[in-house]
Amino acid sequence: MTEKFDEVKEVKVDYTRLRVPLGPVHPALKEPISLTVTVRREEILDVVIRLGHVHRGIEALAETRNLIQTLYLVERICGICSHSHTTGFVQALEEIGEIELSDRSLHLRSLIFELERMQSHLFLIGIMAYEIGFDTLFMFTWYEREKILDLFEEITGNRIHHSMNTLGGVRWDLSPSFVEKVNCSLNKIEKSAKYIQEVFQDKTVEKRLCGVGVLDYDEARELCVVGPTARGSGVKVDIRKAYPYAAYSELKDDFSVVLRNTADAQARTQVRILELFESINLIRAILEKLPDGPIYKESVIKLMKKIPEGEATSLVEAPRGELLYFVRTNGKEGLWRLNVRTPTIPNVLGLKPMLIGSEIADIPVTVASIDPCMACANRITVVDQDKRETIVTDLKNLRNRGKKQ
């Protein structure tokens, strides 16, 4: 009998541990993501990441619409990288319909792309400053961002959803007076970008960012992180260089890929700040080289009718990283299937190795440093109430569903 008592295991309750729920609603998070963090004092022991608070069903919605309508729908996947999404979608359609574009329209696409990248990076730099409690830098950075938004408003008529892309070209042309305005704004922005770079070397800022959220090279490769997150860890990935699209094949020599090896939040922020200068250089090169020609081919209705049944994928380098579009058309102006792989999906996986072992104070900085866009990253979960089952659909199932229809 006594032996049996000895076998009974003692359940140890560790009272030093504290489970802190972070999100879905939290001032540090701009969009809902749920992190359940187990901490001992300030040290993080474990993190559980849950997505799925802002699923909007855009992929399914796209299947009920025609191509032109979908173009404006995919633009609304993300407010910050709206041009990247439409470019990805339109490129896939143009590949299916074998539509050739004029050089001018390709250059204009790249121009808006780079302006958008600057806008997005300034946005994130401001957020980083806000997360470390540096409100003044946040205000100053967003004031610079406002200048780019004003440019967007003048060129395309809208600040965020510029709807610049259309089938077979772009919708708004750049007159010489606009070229001057863009140049003028660029000079101002370059000046303040230098200032922001200087301020980010402030001692209090560096104390908060250096050595925080480290994702080393091997782990970054393993998790396939993309964009500035990968470049901050020293992984050289840039779709603009690897698979040039739009006018980037002609602009190859006008920019370089910014790499940092320290792999922490500071490195990722530095990559973004330095990419501002690369973007400024690119825009100047585009404005210089801007060829003459028409900006779009013919009426979108005619083009839409011409697009046959087929499938295509297209890759673009959104401000946050690699953005993949898989499009399968049905030949009747509609879509069988639209699949979007946004850069946040791989990047959010990197959060766990970044967070474990760091402090509570580092959570907002680490989460912000990968520039997450939660609304882009949410995927379908099918809940069958009768069977009480929960299925998370994967790419294979979705592809099968597309083929069945």
């Binding site: 001032p27 300030e42 997360e131 409690g133 908060r208 959570i363």
Partner: protein, 315 residues
């Protein structure tokens, strides 16, 4: 009897002044960030608004502690602020000496801390532990500063030290090297006491959602905010009148009992507050708790110990 009447007159004055100073602080902060900012009387609006709101007590909270603590905090900090103000108005020591003022001013953060941890929210608990660490970090150098002053002038009475400055016709901070070190240490402790960036980790908005204040709302939040602004005002006023009593420079024109001296002192307090609270808040990023603790035990503590050593040597 006289003391009580003067203190009763000072209460509303301190209430108005502390909220007004907070409004000015917010306005200057906004203008430094190129914003327009709220109107200067915004804290009054906030206070009235919060008092008209619903009282919510979380289910996990121990409600008695949760509800009484803000009242104690507000009362303690307003009393702590009134003692120096009343002393200057009356021209004598009113209520108590330096020890009791510092005691009252420490009550309010401790009460807010207890209220936060009694709310049952994990952020409150994290806020409690951070605030406790910060309290140890800045309270020790601050008390040693006061000790140094008292060793120097063999007095702990608040008004005596103010009078000393008038007698020597100079600011205390400039009078002796030991006092300069004490003043420097005291000034460095200001941002930590007022919980502004770079030392606001105990209620960091983006990290732990205002820490102890996370579950507070309505009238309770109004009281806690009042307590905070009153104790911020009190500490600035204390620091100014102890170390930088500017009317002492102009003693020919102001006798210390006059309203003019009080007004000059308040203006100095405002400038002092802008430079110790608003400017650091504008130009720095928030530190981590470990870094802040290290800073406080390296710089202000060393300064204050040097100051005590110097004053024992009679410098």
């Amino acid at each position: 009897m006289n003391t009580v009447i003067i203190l009763l007159i000072t209460f509303p004055l301190v209430f108005l002044l502390s909220l007004l100073f907070e409004g000015i602080d917010r306005k200057v902060h906004a203008r430094m960030q190129k914003r327009i900012g709220p109107p200067i009387i915004q804290p009054f609006y906030d206070f009235v608004k919060l008092f008209n709101k619903e009282r919510i007590i979380p289910m996990t909270a121990s409600s008695r502690i949760f509800t009484t603590v803000p009242i104690i905090a507000a009362a303690a900090s307003i009393l702590g602020a009134s003692i120096p103000v009343a002393s200057l108005i009356a021209g004598s020591n009113v209520g108590g000496d330096l020890i009791i003022i510092l005691y009252l001013l420490t009550i309010s953060p401790i009460m807010v801390m207890i209220g936060g941890s009694s709310s049952g929210n994990p952020y409150g608990a994290v806020g409690f532990s951070r605030k406790m660490t910060m309290l140890i970090a800045y309270e020790v150098p601050m008390l040693i500063c006061i000790l140094s002053v008292s060793v120097n002038y063999t007095s702990l009475a608040y008004y005596d030290i103010v009078l000393t400055q008038v007698k020597i016709g100079s600011l205390l901070a400039l009078a002796r090297p030991s006092m300069a070190a004490a003043a420097a240490a005291f000034v460095l402790c200001m941002p930590a006491y007022t919980e502004t960036v770079p030392f606001d980790m105990s209620e960091a908005k983006t990290e732990i959602v205002h820490g102890s204040l996370v579950e507070y709302g309505g009238p309770y939040l109004g009281l806690v905010k009042l307590a905070k602004s009153a104790s911020n005002f009190a500490l600035s006023f204390l620091a100014v009148s102890l170390f930088f009593y500017t009317p002492a420079l102009l003693e020919r024109y102001f006798s210390p009992e006059l309203g003019g001296a009080m007004l000059l002192c308040l203006v100095t307090t405002l400038i002092f507050m802008v430079f110790t609270m608003t400017v650091p808040r504008t130009i720095f990023a928030r530190l981590k708790i470990g870094q802040a603790f290290k800073f406080y035990w390296l710089v202000p503590l060393t300064l204050s110990i040097i100051s005590v050593a110097l004053s024992i040597l009679g410098l």
